[in-house]
């Protein structure tokens, strides 16, 4: 338990650093959001009073020192107040994030779990059956790992949506249906998630396959695997002895992998116009929507840190040595 408490402490500090950076960074970037709104041509003939009103509304024209702003920001954060979006009909950032986040979590969660389980299983098998005809999977996996997510997404849309018409090319559900718990609507969600999820799995599974295969190759040569064979255990059990140990580095590398997958998924969402947090971030960046960018960034950081924490807890659970070191 002390181990987990220490990890939570560590991630709290990481979150603080990330949020602090996300506060200061936009304030150092040149550019004026109010000027942006005015130039957006949605408001014609904005006089100085109008400019002043906009500045007040968005809290841009702030004479208090950066430190005071920073403390106010933290105060707001603890109240769940991430500010108001400059665009997106001036909705609170929290509302927007709440609307977009479930799509990302759902897609990301499913895709990552599939990718990890599938990649690890294939990796175990390849490591166990070294030198078999299945080794062609290795260069194949490297190929998909080398392709950028967004490019893979575009190719898959072209092939499976435009040419073959197996899957819808974009968006998260069928917009002609009324959202609700109807089977048709739920199916449309699954149908729409298929291609983006496939993209993420295809691009990220390679990392898990290669990592697990290499680890498995090393572990198969360990003495305790030889002992397992010498003990006359069934081959399935022998592979389990090796895999159970070989998976440890895969789990501890999960932290690295998950950040890459999240980053990749954000791009995939943009390509698919998928109503997730990546798409929201994309729109926010284009519109110089600072509060939204900042809010989305904070949420992404928290999601990644939470995933890391889960990976750490799982690691402590499967490696008795990690439990003790804490």
């Amino acid at each position: 338990m002390r181990f987990i408490a220490r990890r939570v402490g560590f991630y709290a500090i990481a979150a603080w650093v990330a949020i602090t950076v996300s506060f200061f960074l936009p304030r150092m970037v040149p550019g004026d959001p109010v000027a942006g709104i005015i130039a957006n041509a949605s408001i014609h003939g904005c006089n100085p009073y109008c400019v002043k009103a906009l500045e007040l509304e968005f809290g841009v024209f702030n004479h208090s020192s950066l430190l005071v702003q920073y403390l106010q920001y933290w105060g707001n954060l603890f109240h769940g107040n991430l500010g108001v979006s400059y665009f997106e009909s001036s909705q609170p950032v929290t509302t927007l994030v709440a609307a977009y986040l479930p799509w990302t979590i759902g897609l990301l969660g499913v895709a990552t779990v599939i990718s990890f389980v599938l990649g690890t299983t294939i990796g175990i098998f390849l490591g166990w059956r070294r030198g078999s005809r299945l080794d062609w999977v290795v260069p194949g996996a490297t190929f998909f790992q080398a392709i950028p997510y967004f490019f893979l997404a575009m190719v898959l849309i072209e092939v499976f949506a435009s040419i073959l018409k197996w899957f819808p090319p974009q968006y998260g559900y069928d917009i002609t249906l009324t959202p609700g718990w109807s089977p048709g609507y739920l199916w449309s969600i699954v149908d729409h998630a298929m291609l983006p999820a496939f993209t993420v799995v295809l691009a990220s599974a390679a990392g898990f396959i290669l990592g697990m295969r290499n680890q498995m190759l090393t572990t198969m040569d360990e003495d305790f695997v030889l002992v397992a064979r010498a003990k006359g255990l069934h081959s399935g059990r022998v592979v389990w002895y090796a895999a159970r140990n070989a998976i440890l580095p895969s789990v501890s590398n999960f932290s690295l992998a998950i950040s890459l997958v999240v980053a990749g998924q954000l791009l995939v969402e943009v390509v698919f116009n998928y109503p997730g947090i990546g798409y929201l971030l994309f729109k926010a960046v284009i519109n110089h929507d600072y509060p939204l960018v900042q809010g989305v960034f904070v949420v992404i950081v928290l999601v990644v840190l939470a995933a890391n924490l889960i990976a750490d807890v799982v690691y402590a659970f499967i490696d008795p040595r990690a439990r003790q070191e804490a």
Partner: protein
């Protein structure tokens, strides 16, 4: 090479005079092992014959890379890739069953997976050099006993398996609650004890001890060896003891086989080999260890280094390092041949064809007078 041999062990009743006639339990015949394939192949074990008799301790000695571990691992088909067995047979003779006259002998090299699994551990168990690596780090010692008993003793209930684990750990001087420990929670000596307990779990007839104490300090080494030999006397399993420490074998083994560059060089009862080596290589090995008592003498050792198996010298592989090498040694490879009535064997041209045997290799064999543990101890 080992720094120092451990202090002499308590004398053990020598068994070799009786085991000489005991029936064989494991017979290795003409075993050949290569690493790699085709022309690139390295011949790690060449035409090796070994006979392990019931209840016997057979020592297998040689420098690193001489093929001793390869030989034993090949015998139970546990070679690591790219090791390939290219010839020979390994016969295992199970205990004869009352009233069953059929020959139960199994050729391990031709046995199928299921047959091998039955023989492994329940008849032939292995203790490796490093118990840290030999124990699975992520599951408890108890779970590793459990795995074993589940496969080989399926009729035992979960609590019976646990009790058996406790009993085994206590047999090697550990407390039963260690079943709950992970290997990283045990000291090196305790890990090796746990490994030995595991090797005894199914009361095998043969135990292969592959440098079981090399990784331990001399005091722990001595404790464990005493424990092991005590267990051997009580349970009566045969042991193939592999080590580079020839002086250790002299105390433990009934018979010693010396290996060099994948071939057997000399085979003799332990005392005979120690007091009166017949092969220059054995002589060199014996003079690698500083005597604990007596006058100071400069160490001789063996000049040169172990041969590269990819480019073995012609003839006898030891000839470039041999002080008595003759013309014939450079051309022809000697084979293990019986020297005299005592049954000792040597692969050396010095002992055939009228060559003059150097005085160092012609000492009186104490085996002729009937050895005792006492003479062996005095020999130190």
């Amino acid at each position: 090479m080992s720094e120092m041999s451990p202090p002499a062990l308590a004398p053990r009743t020598p068994t070799h005079s009786s085991t000489r006639e005991a029936e064989p339990v494991l017979e290795i015949r003409g075993l050949n092992v290569d690493y790699g394939f085709g022309t690139e192949a390295v011949h790690a074990v060449v035409d090796c014959d070994l006979v392990l008799r019931r209840g016997q301790v057979l020592g297998l000695a040689g420098e690193s890379g001489s093929g001793k571990s390869t030989l034993s691992m090949a015998a139970i088909r546990l070679l690591r890739s790219p090791g390939v067995i290219t010839g020979g047979e390994v016969l295992f003779h199970p205990r004869p069953v009352e009233g069953d006259s059929s020959d139960p002998t199994i050729d391990l090299l031709r046995a199928d997976e299921a047959e091998l699994r039955r023989v492994r551990w329940s008849e032939i168990s292995v203790v490796f050099q490093s118990a840290l690596n030999a124990l699975n780090p992520v599951i408890t010692i108890g779970a590793q006993f459990d795995d074993l008993l589940k496969v080989h003793r399926p009729h035992l209930s979960s609590s019976e398996r646990w009790d058996r684990g406790v009993e085994l750990l206590e047999m090697v001087g550990m407390t039963g609650d260690r079943l709950r420990s992970y290997s990283h929670e045990l000291s090196g000596g305790m890990r090796q004890r746990a490994m030995i307990a595991m090797a005894l779990a199914l009361e095998p007839q043969v135990m292969i001890l592959d440098e079981p104490t090399t990784a331990l300090d001399v005091v722990t080494q001595r404790e464990i060896l005493e424990e092991l030999m005590g267990l051997r006397d009580r349970l009566g399993f045969a042991a193939l003891f592999i080590t580079h420490d020839l002086s250790l074998l002299v105390e433990l083994a009934d018979e010693i086989v010396v290996m060099y560059a994948g071939r057997l060089m000399e085979r003799a009862p332990a005392a005979s080999l120690f007091r009166a080596p017949r092969v220059p290589y054995t002589y060199g090995l014996l003079h690698c260890f500083p005597p604990m008592h007596g006058e100071r003498k400069p160490m001789e050792g063996i000049p040169g280094s172990p041969p590269d198996l990819r480019a073995l010298p012609s003839g006898c592989s030891f000839h470039p390092r041999c002080p008595w090498a003759m013309e014939r040694c450079r051309k022809e490879t000697p084979v293990l041949t019986r020297l005299d009535a005592s049954g000792r064997e040597a692969a050396c041209w010095l002992h055939s064809g009228g060559a003059t045997v150097p005085a160092e290799l012609a000492m009186v064999d104490p085996g002729d007078r009937g050895p005792s543990a006492a003479t062996r101890r005095v020999a130190r």
